[in-house]
Subunit: 362 residues, 2 copies
């Protein structure tokens, strides 16, 4: 008898490396950069940064916050780390301490702040708005930049809104906008436009630097065709208890599930406190590997903070301590996300932050 | 001009203490215990445990996992810490090292494991199943316990499924079941049945120990009437940029929002990577405190990993660096959860795990 209590998050770093190389090859005229913001989408920023720096010679990284850059700075000493949220009063000291952090400046106000604090030797990036309507200089702000201002920047950046839909009109609209603004205001400056999904849109989208994130972590950023990437995440948790559920009995909080016949249930040691979305209640799938075969089962009742209940009536030979699989090669986080009504980015980001997991890197 | 980049999570510990005392007073014949699993629902297990131990003389704590117990063990040396997920091969060493951790045994298999590893001097709790159909001994398993087995236990525990609905038939069903099983198998053992929501169901639900969690953290566990608890969480993030959104323009990923007239937008430095649910896309509310008044605004477009875009056309006098409020006394996490299609427990649990926040305890 095997009694186990902790969920396990397995991360296949070899596949991160493989995906990075595959993406870099597609965009072979551009410099590949690794996006490791939000703790590398939950995969682990230190692990990923060190891996790509040492084994793929990656010399360019993107984070969202300055503190995220500081965390990896010593691991990638010769690399440039761009900070997408830019620089402010609450991050100035981090830039002053870490010379390889480069802010992405997104507004005239932020540019003013940057100039006031003379960070000598740092050539920041400028973000320009081309259709996403998120961060970035609008054209009426670009026209007001002085010639001296324009010379400050070492990189022009923008971001695509709909690059995961190959034929979306927005892609053409944005590349047109980007090309026009870039040529008009920063004709000689390096440029970057695409994240993972943009890599698949063709060479004109690659510019000088491609920012590899989601696809590197195994997410399908080309939902219009089969995923070309290798899976990175396996999520499993032990069966704590197996019990009979008599016909007519209710399951879980608010009694949202009622057995229409006698069932067998497994109580599994994982819940939304571990990052399993509560929206999988009564919907989510779960898999068991028993007697050398894979059997699909269903989450019944509400997902609670620490536990989830599964209908395992059809699972033969199941025992306490066996693992319930929530994501793996055969059912990826993209599949889980579809069931949960969200995107795998969000689930990955949640899972990665959990400390109750046994986190295993392969 | 004030440029800021980091979201801020403010936690009002004084209100946690106030709520604990209020709940303990309602259940004044029972011993109050503090539920600090999942890092005290994201509020911070160390902070909360130390506070209640030192300032409210709390001597009984509940966690889900043994490792969570170990984290607070040294802060509450004279207290008992019950571990709800129980004991297994992957947590045995933690129990051996920390004498004040007490496993909650939920199955015959786990009892066997416990006995094989003679943890001398530890009187575990037993969880019995009374209607939730989650962890716990079923009656056919209780009947097979030997008299010696029954004497092992120091506490009988069960958990209510529908205690947040005052008149739900399940409450009566479960208290009947609990009383019957307790009297039959463990007539002289201490008992605990209710979490926060059960406290409001009346004295028979209080038993010997009440397990105070959600309500202590400000969550409304009595949705059938106004919340009696004080708010604990304020969630805010700085406006990074303010821009005009021309009529006809799209906003955010997949261009899910289109402006039907000229608008003013604010890009705020918080996203689902920080724990703001992506399901708030095009739905969530946000508040601004400008010119000495509170103005409500709306999230437009998709919530992205690091940013969210808000329609601030109606917000007068807004400037970069001003704070956007997502949760506070006037719009609590319960309200946010309703908009996001979940419960505040899940949002709190996510928020608490984030490291990009400036976390401020008051």
């Amino acid at each position: 008898m095997n009694i186990l209590t902790r969920p396990i998050l397995e991360i296949n770093l070899a596949n991160v490396l493989k995906n990075y190389k595959m993406l870099a090859k597609i965009a072979d005229k551009a410099i590949p950069a690794a996006v490791v913001k939000d703790d590398a989408y939950g995969i682990g920023a230190e692990k990923v940064s060190q891996l790509l720096y040492e084994q793929a010679n990656c010399r360019c990284f993107f984070v969202a916050h300055a503190l995220e850059g500081e965390r990896i700075s010593h691991l990638v000493p010769q690399a440039t780390i761009y900070v997408l949220q830019g620089i402010g009063a609450d991050s100035l000291a981090v830039f002053q301490k870490n010379g390889n952090l480069i802010p992405v400046i997104s507004s005239p106000e932020m540019l003013e702040f940057f100039k006031q604090n003379n960070l000598d030797g740092i050539k920041p990036a400028i973000q320009i708005e081309t259709g996403l309507n998120r961060l970035g200089f609008r054209e009426n702000e670009l026209t007001r930049l002085s010639d001296d201002d324009k010379k400050i920047f070492g990189l022009v950046l923008s971001h695509l809104a709909c690059a995961d839909e190959k034929d979306h009109f927005m892609n053409h609209h944005q590349i047109e906008n980007f090309t026009k603004l870039k040529n008009k205001y920063f004709p000689k400056t390096l440029s970057t436009l695409s994240a993972s999904d943009g890599v698949f849109l063709g060479e004109e989208f690659h510019q000088n630097i491609v920012r590899l994130g989601a696809a590197m972590y195994g997410i399908n950023t080309t939902p219009y065709r089969q995923n070309q990437m290798e899976n990175v995440v396996t999520l499993k948790a032990p069966v704590l208890q197996i019990a009979n559920l008599p016909k007519g009995d209710f399951v879980g909080y608010s009694a949202t599930y009622r057995a229409s016949s006698d069932r067998k249930i497994a109580i599994v040691s994982i819940g939304y406190g571990d990052g399993l979305p509560r929206s999988l209640s009564n919907i989510g799938k779960v898999f068991f590997k028993t007697l050398n075969k894979l059997t699909e089962a269903r989450i019944i009742g509400r997902v609670s903070m620490d536990n989830v209940i599964c209908d395992v009536t059809a699972v033969e030979g199941l025992q306490c301590g066996d693992m319930a699989y929530f994501a793996d090669d055969f059912y990826t986080l993209d599949d889980v996300a579809r069931d949960a009504g969200t995107i795998s980015y969000e689930i990955m980001s949640r899972l990665g932050k959990n400390t109750r997991f046994l986190k295993v890197y392969k």
